[in-house]
Subunit: 261 residues, 2 copies
DNA sequence: TCACATTTGTCCGTATGTATC
DNA sequence: AGATACATACGGACAAATGTG
């Protein structure tokens, strides 16, 4: 065997909290610790690992930020194993956007290609339950629009539901990251549109909501009819319109991201 | 304005370390703290924020895991602002794979669609420098194969370079996450193949490397010739082969992920 | 409603290891 | 080699929150 192909492990003087978080992480990956399980109290963990409580706490912060655990205060509280880490990835992704490594242009261009691919898989793999939740989403959106209520959450949710229908968890995570970023940029527009002193803008916002609803309705129909080319065309046109709507705000400085921990 | 459209901030008794990490994060996003800058020592930060060192340390762990800072110990050490957080996303993503939320099947299926889209953009946007680094990658791979050295790093790098050529940072991050996962599953095959007691497997591995190199060479040629349909066909066939190579190991239990902090 | 126990959140003092000069 | 600066780590103490009897 050639010597060069041996991989040496970098010598990294492990810090105590790293060792602790890795050991707990390993237990979670191995399934020893399952979602819903509660970790022992910090003081007890400190005794078991034979380290100070400070190291335990830093390890818990890592697990918490990784999306593996959640922390509750008070009696019967503690660190609880969570069951999903997808929104954690979305948050980190939003951070990347803020560091201006990703422009709105790049974001929306990529979104079109990815959601087109996702839609193809959704048409292939969607089951009854998926169709039902998509229909529910549409009717929820309708109600909100009729009541003049902002429907941005439902609009975002539609895309996430389509990703779920693809039965591919990778797509679910990627689309969630995309929509989380889109949602943030949208929310920078939203509050202004609802300014009661500016009826024109508010009406404009309602019009756009109806437009979006119309596209979503047609896309769902195409999914049900398994009309792949039609669906792909629809989502491309739809996302191109969203893209243009967002690009107006591309050069505006954006605020800091949401809290994650 | 409809009452329902008001967004209430969830009352979450902010913990001190959250406040600290958010404030520092904000400074980084705003560009006040730039890559390479050093944060004040922990004791000084504690004084400035008027909190204990423990809270500062937990905040620093959060920033470190988020990929925003790196920590050096010893004299002249401290927390330094980093310039990229992409590999952090890749690591978190690998965690998601380990939680078996994502199967190799899902991973590779998604990879094919995404890399096809990326390739289209790469053909459109690749400049001289991109072509050059891809050519360099090919020649590096050739040399390693001729010297019977494992070329998995170069093979992975090829795909990352194509993503970079697309000039879309979102694609760069997603492809890096994908290849990081693929690389991990590959490395579970690698060590066995290099077992000096198993020449057959080793030769098989060399054959596969040559096959991969051949595909990469053809894909690069198609990029240069701006032959979009040809390139897309090539990468689809190539990734399908990789997919089948990986699927053999799909049912094997995999080991725990790499350390991130 | 009112304690009470549990557990996280926080601060402080001190000691040690490590890298730089 | 020694001094300095810094992260790392431990232990003790108290405050705050939360569920239970």
């Amino acid at each position: 065997m050639p010597l060069d192909s041996i991989q040496f492990n970098p010598i990294k003087s492990k810090r105590a909290f790293e060792e602790v978080s890795n050991q707990i992480k390993k237990l979670i990956f191995e399934g020893v610790l399952k979602p819903g399980d509660r970790l022992p109290p910090e003081t007890e963990l400190a005794q078991q690992f034979n380290v100070g409580r400070q190291s335990i706490r830093e390890a818990l912060r890592i697990l918490e930020l990784s999306g593996l655990t959640a922390t509750q205060k008070g009696g019967n509280g503690g660190s609880i194993i969570k069951d999903t880490i997808s929104n954690t990835i979305g948050s980190l992704f939003l951070d990347a956007c803020f560091l201006e490594k990703i422009s709105i242009e790049e974001l929306t261009v990529a979104r079109i290609d990815i959601e087109k691919a996702v839609l193809v898989h959704a048409i292939k793999n969607a089951d009854e339950a998926d169709i039902e939740s998509l229909q529910q989403n549409i009717s929820d959106t309708k109600q909100k629009i009729e009541a003049n209520i902002n429907s941005i959450d439902e609009n975002i949710q539609f895309h996430n539901l389509v990703a779920k229908a693809s039965k591919n968890q990778f797509f679910v995570i990627v689309v969630e990251a995309l929509t989380m970023a889109v949602r943030h940029f949208m929310s920078q527009i939203g509050p202004e549109s609802q300014d009661s002193n500016n009826h024109e803008r508010f009406n404009e916002s309602i019009l756009k909501s109806k437009n979006t609803l119309s596209y979503h309705t047609d896309i769902l129909a195409a999914i049900i009819a398994k009309n792949q080319p039609g669906a792909v065309d629809l989502i491309e046109t739809h996302l191109l319109e969203v893209k243009e709507r967002l690009e107006v705000f591309a050069d505006q400085p954006h605020t800091v991201g949401p809290d994650r921990v």
